[in-house]
């Protein structure tokens, strides 16, 4: 069954239905929350992985959009600008899943795509603005 990742943005005042429950019960989609930051009165973000049949995706996304949630396909890779990057390692400090780490010699970045949840913490942390997400 296809699996896709979505980047969800919730408006600040959202009397949100339990969306993952509805996605599972009403649309037969298996939700897996990779990252979520939702606080009352603030814009919320969720990185959601859905597994299901093709038609169900479309219906599920329509449901989310109807609830006022902005749905975008999530990033699938990060790009590191070699010219800008000074290998300071600050991105590794904020990478919770441990996808970006300093290599064995301590002076090179190693990126493990499988561990990345595309949370953008590295993008924000990079003082050289050398990291970008790609879709």
């Amino acid at each position: 069954m296809p699996r896709k990742r979505f980047d969800l943005t919730f408006p600040p005042r959202q009397a949100t239905k339990p969306i993952t429950y509805h996605l599972a019960r009403d649309f037969d989609l298996v939700p897996n929350i990779l990252r979520a930051q939702i606080q009352p009165g603030q814009e919320g973000r969720m990185l959601l992985e859905l597994t299901g049949a093709k038609g169900d995706f479309e219906a599920g996304i329509a449901f989310l959009e109807n609830e006022g949630v902005t749905v975008k396909p999530a990033a699938t890779d990060i790009r590191l600008d070699d010219e800008l990057c000074v290998r300071c390692g600050l991105c590794t400090a904020v990478c919770r899943p441990g996808a970006l780490v300093m290599g064995e010699t301590g002076d090179e970045l190693v990126f493990d795509k499988d561990k990345c949840v595309y949370c953008e913490a590295c993008v924000v942390a990079c003082p050289r603005r050398a990291v970008t997400l790609t879709f």
């Binding site: 000074v86 600050l90 904020v94 301590g106 942390a125 603005r129």
Partner: protein
């Protein structure tokens, strides 16, 4: 065995000096002993490349016709100091741009100048009889400036804190984003390659020392601000927290963007990564013993930045080898670590300085004046007083 400065310099001048980086020297000392390493090697080179906020440049623009006595000055919309002579200024790296905020600042202007880009200079003035012009709007390049020199009041901190956050919210600091509940630990030192960690009591690095500054040959101008030789020290006499600092000077025209790189630290502000390297003469076995120390010997103190006070709680010491391993133990918890100071560029600086000394006759200068020594001064706090209390 003892070598004099003169002996070492004559070997450098003849192209015969044996020069190792601090990492190479530590390996040699491990394999052959400190004594043999001290005998064989003349000079050890060091390097560091981290954000150093107390940095900036002195610039002289030359005079326009009619001339102007610039009092409010901006470069690419970043304010520079207008309280010097007519066309002199000081641009600090942390000054944010009026239009682009923290995404662009003094450090970015300097990097643009180093990359040969034109920078927009705008200035205003009240106008005087001798300087009638009241406004100027033009473009300048590094090449055209009369003088452009780096003058950094505080660089090359001798050791630094390891930052953690015990609080419930992520905080944005000059040591990066600290995740809540000890979610991460950041540190900022070149460790065994760091200039002042290799000369813990400032025997060979002092006022007048010839050093590597952002790719240019430069000098130690003075003790750096907040120079604190009285920091706690370990059994090797090496500080376990932020201690000595250097004020440095060098020609910006000979510097390189590779070793002077602007940075925007989210939620904190603009700073610059500055490359500093110092060559250390292997005068005797005492110096050699310190030069032989590795990341496994050098420690830093873990500080809780979740407490927003001047005195933040210390939560023990860890070695740089532990920090580089990717995680440390804090309060019984395994905490992932991340560096801020680039080891890659620090190694490149130590290697480049090695080639300056070994191949290009970069001789060493004995300090004209020692930096303040342990026992002589600490660092004073700023008390908040009212006029009535004076």
């Amino acid at each position: 065995m003892a070598k004099s400065w003169e002996e070492i310099n004559s070997r450098i001048a003849a192209g015969e000096a044996v020069v190792f980086t601090a990492e190479e020297f530590a390996e040699l000392a491990r394999d052959e002993g400190v004594s043999a390493a001290a005998k064989r090697v003349d000079v050890v080179t060091t390097g560091t490349f981290g954000p150093m906020c107390s940095s900036g440049v002195v610039l002289n623009f030359g005079h326009s016709d009619p001339p102007i006595r610039m009092s409010r000055i901006t470069l690419n919309d970043v304010e520079a100091y207008g309280g010097l002579a007519a066309v002199d200024t000081y641009l600090g790296v942390t000054q944010p741009s009026a239009s682009r905020g923290l995404e662009y600042g003094g450090a970015h202007v300097i990097e643009d100048l180093l990359r040969g880009r034109s920078v927009r200079l705008r200035a205003t003035s009240g106008g005087t009889d001798c300087y009638p012009r009241t406004e100027i709007d033009t473009w300048v390049t590094l090449e055209e400036l009369n003088q452009a020199y780096i003058f950094n009041p505080r660089n090359a901190y001798q050791n630094y804190a390891v930052a953690v956050n015990s609080g419930d919210q992520a905080i944005h600091t000059y040591l990066g984003t600290l995740l809540p509940r000890f979610g991460n630990a950041t540190y900022c030192s070149a460790g065994a390659l760091s200039p002042l960690l290799n000369d813990p009591t400032y025997r060979t690095i002092g006022v007048g020392s010839r050093i590597f500054v952002a790719g240019a040959p430069g000098f130690v101008a003075w003790e750096g601000t907040q120079h604190n030789p009285n920091q706690n020290r370990d059994e090797h006499g090496v500080p376990t927290g932020p201690a000595g600092t250097l004020a440095v000077i060098a020609d910006l025209k000979q510097a390189s963007a590779e070793y002077f790189s602007a940075g925007s630290f989210t939620g904190y502000g603009v700073s610059a990564f500055v490359g500093i390297g110092a060559p250390i003469p292997v005068l005797d076995e005492e110096i050699a013993a310190t030069l032989a120390l590795t990341d496994a010997d050098l420690t830093a103190t873990v500080i809780d930045y979740g407490v927003a006070r001047r005195s933040r709680p210390a939560l023990g010491r860890v070695t740089y080898a532990q920090l580089r391993s990717g995680s440390i133990e804090v309060e019984g918890k395994t905490v992932p670590t991340g560096p801020i100071s680039s080891l890659k560029v620090a190694r490149r600086i130590a290697a480049e300085l090695k080639s300056w000394v070994a191949e290009r006759g970069f001789t060493l200068a004995q300090p004209l004046q020692q930096l303040p020594q342990p026992g002589t001064q600490g660092v004073r706090p700023l008390e908040i007083r009212t006029e009535e209390a004076i």
